[in-house]
């Protein structure tokens, strides 16, 4: 995806925000007013650029007819939902989660405390089964560098990210698995985020046989 100029991003974000808050696509004049611009042609040109770069689509001969194509900017209906990126791996980069690793976006209820600062991590392994987190579950993680003892966190051990419970012994933090078969980890780690939610999907076999009513 081609990069956006700051002004183009402002336009795209305003369009997305308006759709999310009001459910209505803004007109070029509304965008112009919001950005402190006096000519509709200015916004028109920005929208042209955004369309050429593939961020949105224009449905011709119709008013308020813009469709945002980039899922990263796709608005959520009302204030109820946020689209959170599902990452397969968490990178050690300083700015947080690398965008290239994003597999898809999933909408989740925002007012459960799950907002733009969160991402979804697919949990691998059974080290947390006693905490009710199974292999394949999707953890909703708030991105933060610190946490409190007792929190379930995403910790970065070298290159690898794991979900564990944060504990403290004699002032020294360590990671505890919620599974008797796993030993506590006293290695050096850094905190990527805190687990604030969980999404689980039960397999949907659709066999008609052996049904019980």
């Amino acid at each position: 995806m081609q990069p956006l100029s700051p002004r183009q991003r402002e336009v795209l974000e305003y369009v997305s925000k308006t759709i999310g808050e009001q459910g209505i696509v803004p007109t070029v004049r509304e965008v112009a007013r919001a950005l402190g611009v006096r000519s509709p042609a200015t916004v028109q040109q920005h929208i042209d650029s955004l369309a050429k770069k593939g961020y949105l689509r224009r449905l011709p001969d119709r008013m308020r007819a813009l469709e945002i194509l980039d899922p990263a900017y796709a608005p959520t209906m009302s204030d109820d939902a946020v689209a959170l990126p599902v990452v397969g791996k968490v990178s050690a980069g300083p700015g947080g989660v690398a965008e290239e690793l994003i597999e898809e976006f999933l909408p989740v209820p925002r007012h459960l405390g799950w907002n733009e600062g969160c991402f979804i991590l697919r949990v691998r392994g059974s080290s947390m089964i006693d905490a009710g987190i199974f292999d394949g579950d999707m953890a909703i993680v708030r991105h933060q560098g610190t946490a409190q003892p007792g929190d379930i966190i995403v910790a970065l051990l070298g290159e690898e990210a794991t979900v564990k419970r944060l504990c403290v012994e004699d002032g020294a933090p360590y990671l505890k698995a919620e599974n008797a078969a796993f030993a506590p980890i006293h290695d050096v780690f850094s905190i990527t985020g805190k687990v604030v939610g969980l999404l689980r999907r039960y397999e949907t076999r659709d066999l008609a046989q052996g049904r019980v009513s």
Copy 2:
């Protein structure tokens, strides 16, 4: 909420569908064309009725400016999300879940198999902790009257709904809790639905003290 005439419901559903699919509010003429009506005034009058009954709101002097107020008809952004009702209790009514018991609507990803035929049930008790379902979790339930042995289901025992695993012994179905402290239930029951997903929220205390980096 005042009842809708069939035609009024058609208008409301078309508006909702268009917003969900295209992200754009339809014009009165578009609605008219879709319903096979030749005058914009006809649709205009239906929208007036819908607004008077409180199902939607009109933002004056703006085009394509309708806002759907009734959450039952509120569209979901794109095909990604469905708003599922959260029910506190499951009633024994024949038609399914009674609407008066709906507490709120939560958006969930549709392409995980969670669609309009599902609802969300707040799980009470710890009878399923070994299956990773804790007290306070929200089970996503597909409404269906039958299930397969091994499925986790919502069963109706008299007036009360419980989440248990469906088992069969010598051709006779019974309910099994996933917790050693609970005994199997051999009473008569009916199946309300199958648990196809889980939503959990971890408490979000925001104490600055005792933080570990």
